[in-house]
């Protein structure tokens, strides 16, 4: 099992190098090598170190965050169809971001506002599902889905009231796009911390996946564990959404693909999700930057176009 993690790490490295090598401007391998050694031309050094590397890292972190958040949500809700956005978190983030854009705030405030919106959505669903105390995964799911529908209506309302010249920015934000990432570091840091926090809990999650009663019978403090997962998954999703808008699909498909290949041991699935989610988004973003270069595509289109056939193939091949 460690072998698969090692293999994923190698692929992640290759994907990152690919992302550094490919772009609207062609940099031949010899020149890339020179740049890596610190000897390349000024333009190429700027392209590689200041544009491509931060963007590749941001893509990796975002993909990793979304995939881990998806894996956590699926275990939390014991529902393989859950994704990081199922509980309306991206809706809250989108409302925050769109309101900031509507009032003409700068990039930093848009990010801050998106994060605040995501956390507000988290607390709202938490409070509503908690309500009278009889709390179950299905109740959380229902609350989240209904609240998500509410956010959707608010988003439509904002879009309807927005002057048209502001719409492209908003629509691209809603589609999700790595070009929004200002810096990859907060996302990478959150991803690393999350993995550090979640790994000791991973076996608990394996047990929780068998149902809350079974988990409690095997010594898991179910309620505190479930809230920890919920808050952690929310934090991861909020960070991802804040970094690159709401990129769909990664959080749903990556953990599933891995389960089909690696089984459902969270001690493997969680770190593997971080790596595979990162790889998927780095590759997708590299394609989005280059398919019709110098024009750019939204990365969400590519994640879906890459992910759907891969997933269907694995599903078809599995037992």
């Amino acid at each position: 099992m460690m072998r698969s993690l090692l293999a994923l790490s190698v692929i992640a490295l290759v994907a990152t190098v690919l992302a550094l090598a490919i772009g609207s401007v062609t940099i031949p391998p010899s020149e890339l090598w020179a740049v890596i050694q610190g000897k390349g031309s000024m333009l190429h050094s700027t392209l590689v170190w200041e544009l491509r590397l931060p963007r590749a890292l941001a893509a990796f972190a975002t993909g990793g965050l979304l995939a881990v958040a998806g894996a956590l949500m699926q275990v939390l809700l014991r529902n393989p169809l859950a994704d990081p956005y199922v509980l309306g978190l991206s809706g809250g983030a989108a409302v925050g971001a769109l309101l900031a854009m509507l009032s003409g705030m700068g990039a930093l405030l848009i990010s801050g506002s998106a994060f605040a919106g995501a956390m507000l959505a988290t607390v709202l669903v938490f409070g509503l599902a908690h309500g009278t105390g009889s709390w179950t995964a299905s109740r959380l799911l229902l609350t989240g889905v209904v609240v998500a529908a509410g956010w959707g209506a608010v988003i439509t309302l904002i879009l309807a009231l927005t002057p048209s010249y502001k719409l492209p920015g908003m629509l691209y934000w809603l589609m999700g796009d790595v070009s929004y990432a200002r810096t990859p570091w907060p996302a990478l840091l959150v991803l690393a911390l999350a993995i550090a926090v979640i790994m000791p809990l991973a076996r608990n999650l394996n047990v929780l996946a068998r149902g809350s009663m079974q988990a409690a019978a095997l010594g898991v403090s179910v309620r505190p564990l479930e809230w920890t997962i919920y808050l952690l998954a929310s934090l991861l999703t909020a960070t991802a959404v804040t970094t690159a808008g709401s990129i769909g699909f990664v959080g749903l498909i990556v953990p599933h693909m891995l389960r089909l290949v690696l089984g459902n041991d969270q001690r493997i699935i969680l770190p593997a999700s971080a790596l595979a989610g990162g790889i998927l988004l780095v590759l997708a973003d590299t394609l989005a930057r280059t398919v019709i270069a110098p024009e750019q595509l939204p990365v969400g289109v590519i994640t879906a176009l890459l992910g759907v056939p891969t997933f269907l193939y694995l599903l078809h091949r599995s037992r």
Binding site: G23, S24, V25, E50, G104, S164, S179, P294, E295, Q296
Partner: protein, 299 residues
């Protein structure tokens, strides 16, 4: 065959042009062909004109028919008198009831800006629709002339159209030999968007001797990668500044101090509203941009 068709077309065009000309038009029929290619004939000069986009409002005022305009939409804010107009919604969603209540006898619309379904509805209700969308400097003059024909304000309209033509020609002459200077025009920061030379902004850049680094992109408003901007290393970077907001949209380029535009401090903001509307205010915008390019040339 082809040439026969062509000549037929030209003949027809001339004929229409003659018809549309005020001197040739009969007193009872005022006709003009709109930018969607449809001919509209009015039996009398329009007295109640509804304008369904900020650009349409502005052009109708420029045609000397400001007093006859009875409705605008959100952001119909120029000239200042237009701000007092009753509004019939947003240009993407027209309040048809409010529009009908105002009993317009001419509706000036935007070819690609208004929702087609609503426009069809207005058509079915028998309302006279005149769709405009100038794509060239001459298109601006021509739109003003045609609107003035329909509004019966030919004197003012044709004068204004001619003034615009002349002023543009003067600029063009003035900058004909100006030293070419490469320019990147940033329409939007994230995602990064620009314009090609088909776009009126691209035409303004050309007018001022600017060389748009994305002149030949296939799409009018392409979304591009910052990489290609760095590679093109333009001498000047321009963007529109929105009224009432701080100008920060170009700050992100400052992290590349070695770019020529950044090193020479050639990051410029021009007021967004005149340059984004195909109206006579393009002159202001051209003056602004030409001036900025001159500053850059002197550095």
């Amino acid at each position: 065959m082809r040439s026969r068709w062509l000549s037929l077309k030209i003949t027809l065009g001339l004929l229409l042009g003659v018809l549309a000309h005020p001197l040739a038009a009969s007193e009872t029929q005022r006709c003009a062909v709109d930018d969607a290619g449809k001919q509209l004939c009015l039996t009398a000069a329009a007295q109640r004109i509804a304008t369904l986009s900020p650009g349409a409002t502005e052009l109708t005022f420029a045609a000397g028919a400001g007093d006859q305009v009875i409705a605008g939409v959100n952001y119909s804010d120029y000239p200042p008198a237009a701000r007092k107009l009753p509004l019939v919604g947003n240009h993407t969603r027209i309040d048809v009831e409010a529009l009908l209540a105002l009993k317009p006898d001419l509706i000036v619309t935007w070819v690609t800006g208004n929702p087609p379904a609503q426009m069809e509805l207005l058509q079915e209700l028998g309302l006279p629709i005149f769709a405009i969308e100038p794509r060239t400097f001459d298109g601006v003059s021509s739109a003003i002339e045609r609107i003035s024909t329909l509004a019966g304000t030919e004197t003012e309209g044709f004068a204004e159209a001619e003034r615009f033509r002349t002023d543009i020609a003067v600029f063009s002459e003035q900058y004909r030999h100006a030293e070419p200077i490469s320019v990147f025009y940033q329409v939007w920061e994230t995602p990064l968007m620009t314009i090609n030379n088909e776009h009126l902004i691209g035409k303004v850049l050309q007018l001022c001797g600017g060389v748009n680094v994305f002149a030949d992109m296939p799409r009018l408003v392409p979304r591009i990668s910052p990489e290609v901007v760095l590679e093109a290393d333009p001498e000047v970077i321009l963007t529109g500044s929105v009224e009432g907001a701080r100008d920060v949209q170009l700050d992100h380029w400052k992290s590349y101090p070695k770019m020529r535009a950044v090193a020479n401090n050639n990051l410029f903001y021009v007021p967004a509203s005149p340059i984004s509307r195909p109206t006579p205010r393009l002159l202001e915008a051209s003056r602004d941009i030409c001036q900025k390019l001159d500053i850059a040339r002197d550095r």
